[in-house]
Amino acid sequence: MSALIEARGLEVGYPVAAPTLFGRSRILPVVRDVSLKLEPGRTLGIVGESGCGKSTLGRALLRLIEPTAGKVLWLGQDMAAMGRDELRRRRSEMQIIFQDPVAALDPRMTLGRIVSRPLATFEPGLSRAARRDRAIEALRLVGLSEDFALRYPHEISGGQAQRVGIARAIVGRPRLIVCDEPVSALDVSIQAQVVNLLMDLQDRLGLALIFISHNLAVVRHISHDVMVMCLGRVVETGPRDIFYAGPLHPYSRALMEAVPEPDPRREKGRVGTALPGELPSVLNPPPGCVFATRCPKAQDRCRRERPELRDFGGRQAACHFAETP
């Protein structure tokens, strides 16, 4: 199948203030050389710790932030080459939902208006009645009854607010939703409801999902493919099952071992195994491998020379010492 969205050598940077009054401001790259491909109806999970660039990558894929280098292709077409009108039309096909579901909703609007709003932009020809019907249909799809359309954001819970965010994302019948930490702010019992809802919607509507999260257990549950990022770079990527069965990169392994699982017998044995040290600063990444400063297996070569992503039969890892298992 051909790709719905594809990134090639994507780089995104933010300007940082000059260190001195007359110094030069510079561009700090927070996403470096990222390539990915996503087919319709599939989910790519992107995991990493804070500052790894996963949220910036999600926004750059939708061109909510302009990449500083590289390309994003939508159905094979370069998004940077699209004109305003074309981009606006395409935007209805690619949506995003956010971590803080309440902050993402305008407190002065009814939920019905919030959900139907994208239609005013994407399908200006629709009548008011048609927009209302589409909003109610979207609310139903996310498990909220029609009477929610008349309520305001402060009258609903965080879990319900995230459902409204999803309803707003699907009202324009998109083909891709970027989910940026969509369950991190929710209670455990509500997290499960929202994850299940996203999987149901994917089945029913054939959506592709980019699921950005720091939670490896949730990513395993929802994703077909997984990508691990560290300090702006992809360190490992591959199909879900083989990735979780045995990650190749020491950073992926360290992340997996750090996640506490709800199993006291297993966890008690892990006390005292935490990886020492801090993540290096994004402002000043090490010259070699991004993980070399904390890696238990790091050699001189790792500190000097940055490992490229290499193929290991269907998956890739950026480690000098990774081996085919």
Binding site: I190, A192, N196, L216, P260, P262, V271
Partner: protein, 323 residues
């Protein structure tokens, strides 16, 4: 596990006066903490888990009142005058928070902040207190502790600030450490470091810990015993292994089913609990979880199930009945 408890809660309740009436956030909670024990209190938002700690520390919001008893080494902390509470807080009872900046002064050097408590509570000289502060920073693995002690909190990373707060809480060698979601804001690799540190210090100094969290994994890694709280009431209590292996309350069962584990075979969908966690509203005459419970019977909405059992306690009318 026969040692005298260091803390005994008996019928602790916390009420908040609101314009629309009184909200009971914690409802008739009783439990013991033994010396050296790490107790986890797990619950979702609105379960009242943090308010239990605030009530113990005398830190409830102004419209909140605590009733019942919390016997800390035989003295009731509830209703204790501020001056007497001050002598206990910071000396034998310490608390750490989710956001370390809650307890750190941004305008004071880290070393001075740590030394302050030692000077006030233990009558140490400034020089001796500073030395002890640096030793404790080193102990919680702040690199280059002597130089770091002269720096301000904003010059530390999030994980390091959390360790500074733990250092501050432990300097007084408290008998009981209250930890309110101490790792929730941290990345997983840093969370693992902080959990290791709490486990190690508790083991070495014999400090008891009450750890409040929403994360069942954190409880599993750190806690000897666990209390599952819902709607301000204890739903289930027992040794961590026993509760996680075979939870008996439908709420505890639901929470575990809703938490994905990497070690388990994949299921098509996660287990769910319908509805949303209780947030305020009128007190229900029955079990607070009844509105969301899949196995409720009429009795559940009429009468509050008592917390029964010895060591392993469950508050469910159906707990004796196999599901």
């Amino acid at each position: 596990m026969t040692a005298e408890p260091i803390l005994s809660l008996r019928g602790l309740s916390v009420d908040f006066r609101l314009p629309e009436g009184t909200l009971r956030a914690v409802d008739d909670v009783s439990f013991d903490v033994r010396p050296g024990e790490v107790l986890g209190i797990v619950g979702e938002s609105g379960s009242g888990k943090s308010q239990i700690l605030f009530a113990l520390m005398g830190l409830l919001a102004r419209n909140g009142t605590a009733s019942g008893a919390a016997l800390f080494r035989g003295r009731n902390l509830i209703g204790l005058p501020a001056a007497e509470l001050d002598a206990i807080r910071g000396a034998s009872l310490s608390m750490i928070f989710q956001d370390p900046m809650t307890s750190l002064n941004p305008f004071q050097r880290v070393g001075d902040q740590l030394a302050e408590g030692l000077i006030a509570h233990r009558g140490m000289t400034r020089a001796a207190a500073r030395e002890a502060a640096v030793a404790m920073l080193d102990r919680v693995r702040i690199p280059d502790a002597a130089a770091r002690a002269r720096r301000y909190p904003h010059e530390f990373s999030g994980g390091m600030r959390q360790r500074v707060m733990i250092a501050m809480a432990l300097l007084a060698r408290p008998a009981l450490l209250l930890a309110d979601e101490p790792t929730t804001a941290l990345d997983v690799t840093i969370q693992a470091q902080v959990l290791d540190l709490i486990a190690e210090l508790s083991r070495e100094t014999g400090t008891s810990v009450i750890l409040v969290t929403h994360d069942l994994g954190v409880v599993a890694r750190l806690c000897d015993r666990v209390i599952v709280l819902y709607g301000g009431r204890v739903m289930e209590e027992g040794p961590a292994e026993a509760v996680f292996d075979a939870p008996r309350h439908p709420y505890a069962q639901g929470l575990l089913a809703a938490t994905p584990r990497m070690a388990d075979a994949l299921t098509p969908r996660l287990g769910t609990i319908p509805g949303t966690p209780r947030s305020g509203g009128a007190m229900l005459p029955g079990c607070p979880f009844a509105p969301r419970c899949a196995v409720r019977v009429e009795a559940c909405t009429l009468a509050r199930p008592p917390l029964v059992g010895d060591g392993r306690r469950v508050a469910c009318h159906l707990a004796g009945v196999p599901a």
